[in-house]
């Protein structure tokens, strides 16, 4: 380490401790912000000192869970520098590498927009690109724009880097065309497929000729087995596949993990097809790093949800199920999962509109809320844009007299719990910053741990 980096590093670690000590949050990104501002090149040096190199994970949906699953596989084998709190901007990545003295391998979730720069600076051993969904257009611009940035970043990768791509996402799969070291993952189970694309599907036009894809199987949003009748472009063959999928309600899902080196039956403690995709991405990443299949399967089975993504905690004689929703595709899958396990009688939905949530809240009109509207007895809408949610649900057909508009999150949680019968579960579906606040409220009441203590 250079002298300059050493000084910056210790100063930044001190800032991190101060930030935690003063209670101003988890202290997760402040040190990195400092170093990033002083010297962006520090990231290159911090990455270079990891003896086993780095693996990067990006996607619109599931990057935090995928990275956490990969950590569950890798942490018994190597000391990790892992940004487990989800601090995935350049400053958060820098903070993680600063704080992880003695780490061997970097395992980093990276925001879609900053990924190209992080790829360029860290020269990773593995890059996993899972999916691209419409999300926060106000911040990122259009899907194709993000994909073009990724394409340029992939082209600049060294040939020694292994690229992991979601083969079921046409745009993402196309990024791997012509590359040597690639692992393509996807789902292959017609019994679990939908017959048609959902209304909110984002990438439905052929990446080669622009014609509408035909989907033999659609699994999650536009992810599936697609083919173009005009030019013949089809989903590439899968290197890592999930077959014979068996859901277990809200308790989990089993599948056969089929890889170039054999197959294993895996039981995940998380429900939902989208978590099967996350598991495939994590498994592919670990396989690309040389981990044995049995260690991959064991790590996936040990895994418990990344904070707030699918989390249960007790609240007296009631339980709370926290499911993050942040864009149409993710919300649709969360609701579909809830529907498979049985929609609770009382549901809280919380919508904030800060930068991390997306300032443009129109995406809620693309969410298929109908299963909730059909089965919930009462819905409490909360967050800064609670009234927008109320309109969305009312125009979706939910009776206005069964809607409670309670913008304050702590009051909404109280209202939801009061309406929930003893012994029952309350479902809470918050956007990102609403989830952070709700977790802090739960932690304050001793119901859940603050996130910077709950992992690793």
């Amino acid at each position: 380490m250079s002298a300059r980096l050493a000084i910056e590093s210790s100063a930044a670690r001190l800032v991190g401790r101060l930030s935690r000590a003063t209670g101003r949050g988890g202290g997760t990104t402040l040190p990195g912000k400092l170093v990033w501002r002083l010297d962006p090149g520090a990231l290159d040096a911090l990455a270079a000192r990891l003896p086993a190199g780095l693996a990067l994970v990006s996607a619109t949906n599931g990057k935090t869970t995928t990275t956490a699953m990969a950590s569950s596989i890798l942490s018994p084998l190597q000391r990790l520098a892992w940004n487990h709190s989800g601090a995935n901007l350049a400053s958060g990545v820098t903070s993680t590498l600063l704080a992880a003295r003695g780490a061997e391998l970097g395992l980093l979730e990276v925001d879609e927009f900053v990924l190209p720069e992080v790829m360029r600076r860290t020269r990773p051993r593995v890059v996993s690109l899972g999916n691209l969904f419409r999300d926060q257009l106000d911040r990122y611009g259009e899907l194709e724009h993000v994909a073009e940035r990724w394409r340029a970043a992939v082209a600049a990768l060294p040939g020694s880097t292994t690229l992991v791509v979601g083969a079921d996402d046409p745009l993402v799969a196309s990024l791997a065309e012509g590359r040597g070291r690639v692992l393509r993952f996807g789902v292959d189970d017609p019994a679990r497929a939908r017959s048609a694309l959902q209304h909110a599907s984002d990438s439905k036009y052929c990446v080669r000729c622009g014609a509408l894809y035909h989907y033999d199987e659609a699994y999650v949003g536009h992810l599936g087995a697609y083919r173009c009748a005009v030019c013949g472009h089809v989903r590439p063959p899968l290197d890592v596949a999930a077959r014979h999928i068996a859901p277990h309600g809200l308790d989990g899902v089993s599948f056969s993990l089929e890889t170039p080196g054999g197959s294993a039956r895996v039981r995940l403690a998380l429900p939902g097809l989208y978590n099967v995709y996350n598991a495939l991405a994590a498994a592919s990443l670990a396989l690309a790093l040389g981990v044995a299949l049995e260690d991959v399967a064991a790590g996936l089975e040990r895994f418990r949800a990344a904070f707030g993504r699918f989390e249960r905690f007790e609240a007296g004689d009631r339980r709370v199920l926290l499911l993050l929703v942040k864009n149409p595709a993710g919300a649709n899958e969360a609701i579909r999962t809830l529907e498979e396990g049985g929609v609770p009688a009382i549901v809280v939905v919380a919508l904030n509109d800060r930068i991390a949530d997306g300032r443009d809240v129109s995406w809620i009109w693309d969410v298929d809320f109908e299963p909730l509207l059909e089965h919930a007895r009462r819905i409490v809408v909360s967050g800064e844009r609670a009234t927008e949610l109320a309109l969305r649900l009312a125009y979706g057909g939910f009776p206005r007299d069964r809607l409670d508009v309670v913008p304050a999150l702590d009051e909404a949680l109280d209202r939801g719990l009061a309406l929930t019968a003893p012994g029952d579960e309350l479902a809470v579906l918050p956007t990102y910053t609403a989830m952070l606040s709700l977790r802090a409220i739960a932690a304050e009441r001793g119901l859940a741990q603050p996130y910077w203590e709950s992992t690793s």
Binding site: D138, E142, L143, G210, R359, R385, T387, E388
Partner: protein, 228 residues
């Protein structure tokens, strides 16, 4: 949204999706809606929409209500000038042209209506567009920008009104939090269906809508983009 508000007054809407290659017969529809999309999707439908320019103009001249939002608003003008100088012809309904800009104009917006039916009434929404839409002299905007960018970020005008057609960059979506605008379009559509003069619709309980409007309007005042 339109369907529910029509149903609350005892009217049923038949929804007829029209896509690339479909014929559009002027007079067959009481209300037309043209939405927006991503650049690539818009480029795919633009030639088709432009080829139906005569039909769209005839429909509006015959009193069909029309709402065009964002990309639909651009494509119903004379055309779009790309940054590379390319020209994409529009349907030629609204008296405007759009020129690609270097930066996107993104943020909450608040307007004061310039419609004679509701002068000064506020309209709250969200805009996200790279195009600068320049109205011809004498063209009537939908509203005056209170907060946000509007058509071009500098004129202080937003949207366009031509007879029973409204075009705007505001989504959010536009109608649920500005329900009077939905009712205005429905009243035009009803007049087209019955041959009578447009009349205001019976009021509904819009307390949720008004609350959402107030929050969105405050957002625009706090953090909407400012005209240059």
């Amino acid at each position: 949204m339109l369907e529910r508000r029509a149903a609350a007054r005892g009217h049923e809407l038949d929804i007829d999706p029209v896509t690339v290659g479909d014929a559009l017969v002027p007079g067959n529809h009481d209300l037309l809606y043209v939405g927006g999309g991503q650049d690539r999707e818009q480029a795919m439908i633009a030639p088709d929409l432009a080829s139906h320019g005569d039909d769209v103009r005839a429909a509006v001249a015959g009193g069909s209500a029309l709402l065009a939002v964002c990309g639909g608003y651009q494509l119903l003008g004379r055309g779009y000038r790309g940054r590379d100088g390319s020209w994409m012809a529009g349907a030629g309904l609204f008296p405007h042209e759009t020129v690609a800009g270097d930066t996107r104009m993104i943020g909450d917006v608040l307007l004061e209506s310039m419609l004679p039916e509701a002068p000064g009434r506020t309209i709250a929404g969200f805009e996200n567009h790279a195009g600068r839409t320049l109205l011809d002299p004498g063209a009537r905007p939908l509203g005056r920008v209170v907060a946000g960018y509007g058509n071009d970020g500098s004129s202080g005008a937003e949207g366009c009104r031509l007879g029973t057609a409204l075009g705007t960059y505001l989504h959010g979506p536009l109608l649920p939090r500005n329900p009077w605008l939905a009712d205005l379009l429905l009243s035009w559509a009803l007049a087209h269906a019955t041959g009578a003069e447009p009349e205001p619709l019976a009021p509904l309980d819009d307390s949720l809508e008004d609350a959402a409007h107030a929050v969105a309007a405050a957002r625009a005042r706090d953090r909407g983009g400012r005209p240059a």
